[in-house]
Amino acid sequence: MKQLKAKIIGNKRIAPDFYKMRLASAYLAKNSKPGQFVEIECSKGGEIFLRRPLGVHRILNDGIEVLYEVVGPGTKSLSAKTAGEYIDIIGPLGNGFFVQRTAYSAQRTAALVAGGVGVAPLVALAETLVNSSKLIVHSKRRKLYVLIGACKKGHVLCVNDLKKLGAEVVVYTEDGSLGKKGLITQGLTSLLSTINYELSTIYACGPYPMLKAISHIAESSGISCQVSMEERMACGVGVCLGCPVKAKSGGYKMVCKDGPVFDSKEIAW
C-alpha cells in the first residue's frame, strides 16, 4: 500500500446516483487485485472527515476505476469532482478474491453474485477470471455466470460490460422492472438446479442479508464461497479495529485487514 495523489481522468454518472471514477496511477494499476479497496479522501478537512473505502472496480494498464453509489455526504462530494483534479488515496488495501486455479478450468466454472452496487468489485474479478483462462471465452457451452440482483432497474449496473466479457448475465429486480422479479438468491438456486456441469466457486458482494443467504446456499450445495463484506471504516489498514465482523472462530475479524473478502465459512452469520 501507498498513500498517493491520483489524477482523476473521468468521473462519469452511469445511472442516477451511480458514478464511475477513473484514476491515473501506475502504482495502483500494477499492485491492485480484484476484491481489494482504496481509501479516498473526499474533502480536505471540513464536514466529510473520514476517508471512504471504495472497492476496485476495474484494473487498467495505467490506473484503476472505482464505481460508487451516492449514499451520503462523502460520496456526494466525490461525485462533484471533475477530471483533472487530484485526490488523496491510500491503497490498495485488504485481501482480494482468492482465485483458485480450479475455479475456471475446462470442467468447471464460477458464479459471481452481485447485490446492487456490489457488482463493482466483481467486474474486476470477472475480467481476471476470463483473461486468465482464454479457453472459456471461446466455449459456446460453458460460460462464466454473473447474477445481478437489485431493487429496481436503474440499480442494475455493468450488464453490458459483463456480457462483452462473454459472461452469462442473469438479472433479478425486486420490483420486476428489469429481468426476473425476485431476489438474486432465487436466481442462484435456479442456476444450481439447471446447470449441467460443476460450479466450483461462488463469489459474492452485496448487502449482509444477501451474503448470508448466498453463504447458506453455497454451504448446503457443497460449493466454496467467497464473500466481500462491507462495514463502516476509519483507518482501513487494521490499526483502529473499527470494522469488525463476527468470526466463527470466536471474536471479531476486521473487514479492512482480514477481508474484505472472506471464505463464507469464516463468518458467524
Binding site: M1, K2, G45, I48, L50, R232, C235, G236, C243
Partner: protein
C-alpha cells in the same frame, strides 16, 4: 539550531510528537518511518483479552468521528508473547498503555510490563469511555479518589515513567489532575475522547452498536486546549496534549497552553503522514520564531 527534544518524566524524547494509543500500529510502517516519532505508544491492553464492542464501531461526525471499539485486545500474555517482540526493533522509546477494572489489575499489568527491557513508560488509561470496568458505573478518571488509588498502585509497582491519561468527561479537570500528581504520576496526558452519540433518523437507531462512543478529531480541540491549560496551571508535572491535532499549528497551540509533548490520534486515519509533517512543521515554526527549545514554548501563552 532548533532542539526539538523534550522530557516526560524520565523519558527523553527527541521530539514532542507521539501517535496516540489505538490510532497507530505497525501497519503504518509501510507508509511512514515510525522511528522519526518521539515515541511509540502501543494500543491499550487489559489483563485479560477483550472481544470489543459490536459493530458499527466508528462513524463520521462534523470535523471528527465517534468510535466505540471497546478496548479490543488479546490481553497481557498475548501482548508480551506476540505484540511486543516486533516492537523491540523500534529505535524510539516504547510506551505501553494499560487499562483495568481495579487497582489489582493495574498492578498486575504494571509488573508484567516492567520486566520488559524495551518498555520505558506506561500510559495509564483511566479514561476509555467505551468499556464498563467491573461494578463501577463511572470512569476512573471521573473520580479523584479512584484516580489516586489507581496511580498510587501503579507507582508502588514500577520505576518506569507513569503518564496518567485523563478524561474530559468531568466537571473539574484540575481536581483529577492534582490527584494523579499527588499519587505519583510523572506526567499527565489529556484529553481522551468525549462521550457522544450519532443517530440515524431513518432507522431511529443510534449509528454505533454500543449506542455511545468517544468523540475525537478537530471538533474537540477547543475543549482539549482549555483542559490542557487548566491542568498545566494546577500541577507541576509535564502535560502531553491530545485532542484533534491535525497539523503543526494545532500542536503549537497545545504547547503554548502548557504541553511538553503532543499526541496525534484521529489524524493518523486521515493522513498517516500527519505526525511526520507535524514534526517538520514545529521545527520550522521554532526556527522562524527564534525558539531554541520546546520548553521555551511550553505554557508561553500570553493572557
Amino acid at each position: 539550531m532548533v532542539n526539538l527534544g523534550t522530557k516526560i518524566g524520565k523519558l527523553q524524547l527527541k521530539n514532542p510528537v507521539m501517535a496516540a494509543s489505538g490510532t497507530f500500529g505497525p501497519e503504518y510502517g509501510e507508509l511512514i518511518d515510525v522511528n522519526k516519532l518521539g515515541a511509540y505508544i502501543a494500543k491499550t491492553i487489559t489483563l485479560n483479552a477483550r472481544i470489543g464492542n459490536p459493530p458499527p464501531r466508528v462513524c463520521d461526525t462534523p470535523s471528527g468521528m465517534l468510535n466505540s471499539i471497546g478496548l479490543e485486545n488479546g490481553g497481557l500474555d498475548d501482548f508480551i508473547k506476540n505484540k511486543l517482540p516486533p516492537l523491540k526493533r523500534l529505535k524510539i522509546p516504547l510506551i505501553a498503555s494499560i487499562a483495568g477494572d481495579d487497582a489489582g489489575e493495574f498492578k498486575e499489568l504494571t509488573r508484567g510490563l516492567s520486566k520488559s527491557q524495551k518498555i520505558e513508560a506506561l500510559e495509564i488509561n483511566l479514561s476509555c469511555p467505551n468499556v464498563k470496568h467491573g461494578k463501577r458505573d463511572f470512569l476512573i478518571a471521573q473520580d479523584e479518589e479512584a484516580t489516586y488509588e489507581t496511580i498510587e498502585a501503579v507507582r508502588r509497582s514500577t520505576t518506569l515513567t507513569i503518564i496518567a491519561k485523563l478524561s474530559p468527561n468531568v466537571t473539574d479537570i484540575k481536581k483529577v489532575a492534582r490527584a494523579a500528581e499527588r499519587a505519583g504520576a510523572d506526567a499527565l496526558s489529556l484529553i481522551n475522547t468525549l462521550v457522544g452519540m450519532a443517530i440515524d433518523i431513518d432507522t431511529k437507531r443510534p449509528v454505533l452498536g454500543n449506542i455511545t462512543g468517544g468523540l475525537s478529531g478537530p471538533a474537540i480541540k477547543p475543549i482539549a486546549l482549555r483542559m490542557v491549560r487548566e491542568a498545566y496551571k494546577s500541577t507541576r508535572i509535564p502535560i502531553v496534549g491530545i485532542g484533534g491535532v491535525m497539523d503543526y499549528k494545532d500542536a503549537v497551540e497545545f504547547i503554548l497552553c502548557g504541553a511538553s509533548a503532543i499526541q496525534v490520534g484521529t489524524a493518523n486515519f486521515i493522513n498517516p503522514a500527519a505526525s511526520i509533517e507535524i514534526i517538520d512543521g514545529i521545527k520550522d515554526y521554532m526556527a522562524k520564531n527564534n525558539i531554541r527549545e520546546i520548553k521555551e514554548l511550553t505554557g508561553a501563552l500570553k493572557t
